[in-house]
């Protein structure tokens, strides 16, 4: 009886992690949409809508019971939007594999929906594990494309004269995206006919624990670095001094051009 109480308490704790994750995703989603309007940065609308769709999926699962296929569609669109965000944020005007990644994720998303429909019609181990493996591959590609792009960008700016809080944002995006990319791996270790979070099975609770902790880290990490309070920015910028030359900044256009000419002549 006591053991059962501990299990239920743990499940409640992990449920609260997931609820925090959903709240952070909804908050981030709304924040990104507001910032899209304010800053006219098109890339943000995609991650904003993507986050909202993924959180609707969880809300649907918890409260409404939308059905697994409908939930899968929401997640798939959310993931495709995340890839568009990555491409627009890091790869505009660049000739690299961005379109290949985009089409692979679309293909795998469609395949995932088909596998889900197949699984609802015919529940068997093959269908279940196929779905899990496909989910793992396309989640891995989606989030690690963001990880890779952010890491490449971070490598270029880490020694540049930028405010430290921006560099922290890059680093946190890298860490939390890697953590999220492995999320679908765990259900592979669970027998196919045992649902995640079933209190009767310890392995099921363990998988649920890791999933909810991963989600919590991603949700909170992403929210904190994107909706960063000014106080935190000040703390992260502590000790950073930007070399400014007030004399130059206050010059009129003609005086500035003269100064530039003088500096160029002095160098020759």
């Amino acid at each position: 009886m006591r053991y059962r109480m501990i299990e239920i308490s743990l499940l409640l704790l992990f449920n609260s992690f997931l609820i925090l994750f959903i709240i952070s995703m909804v908050t981030c989603g709304i924040y990104f949409i507001i910032r899209t309007i304010q800053l006219k940065l098109l890339n943000l609308i995609f991650i904003g809508i993507g986050f909202l769709l993924v959180s609707f999926r969880f809300l649907g699962n918890f409260f409404i019971g939308l059905g697994s296929t409908f939930e899968e569609i929401l997640v798939s669109i959310g993931f495709i939007f995340l890839v568009i965000f990555t491409n627009l944020t890091f790869h505009k005007d660049r000739k690299n594999g961005k379109l290949v990644v985009f089409f692979i994720v679309i293909m795998l998303s469609v395949f995932q929906i088909i596998l889900d429909i197949h699984y609802t019609i015919e529940m068997n181990p093959t269908s279940y594990y196929l779905q899990i493996v496909n989910d793992l591959i396309y989640t891995f590609i989606t989030f690690n494309w963001l990880t890779y792009s952010t890491y490449q960008a971070y490598r270029k700016v880490k020694n540049a004269d930028l405010e430290p809080w921006i560099k922290v944002r890059y680093k946190v995006i890298i860490y939390v995206s890697v953590i999220m990319s492995f999320q679908p791996a765990l259900p592979i270790f669970l027998p196919w006919n045992i649902p995640i979070g079933n209190p009767s099975y310890l392995s099921s609770i363990n998988v649920y624990a890791v999933l909810s902790i991963q989600s919590l880290i991603f949700g909170l990490g992403f929210s904190i670095v994107w909706i960063m309070p000014k106080k935190l920015k000040r703390i992260l910028n502590n000790g950073y001094v930007r070399i400014e030359n007030q004399d130059v900044l206050e010059l009129s256009e003609d005086d500035l051009i003269s100064k530039i000419k003088q500096e160029m002549e002095a160098e020759q």
């Binding site: 800053l39 890339n43 944020t89």
Partner: protein, 92 residues
């Protein structure tokens, strides 16, 4: 946006051998030439800045008789494209 201007100005300053603040001033003047004085700096996007480098800054470098301005602009646009995330991550 301020961050990417700082980043590009540091590169420009080494290319044409002027101080980084003077290079920042030159880029800001070019932005004013290209987009007018009323566009808020936080509303300037990647395409605006790319056009600024390719048009107005190039003109200003030519007026200053900078050698090889084409190559300098090419390098700056390359750096902007590779580091576009500074605008889209650092500006939010």
């Amino acid at each position: 946006m301020i961050e990417i201007i700082h980043y590009l100005a540091n590169i420009l300053s080494t290319e044409i051998k002027i101080s980084p603040p003077a290079a920042r001033g030159l880029i800001k003047l070019s932005i004013k030439d290209e987009l007018g004085p009323f566009k808020p700096i936080f509303r300037i996007n990647y395409t605006d800045l790319k056009n600024t480098l390719e048009n107005s800054l190039k003109k200003r470098l030519n007026n200053l008789n900078v050698n090889d301005s084409d190559q300098i602009i090419k390098n700056l646009v390359f750096e902007l494209t590779n580091n576009q995330s500074i605008i889209k991550i650092g500006n939010v």
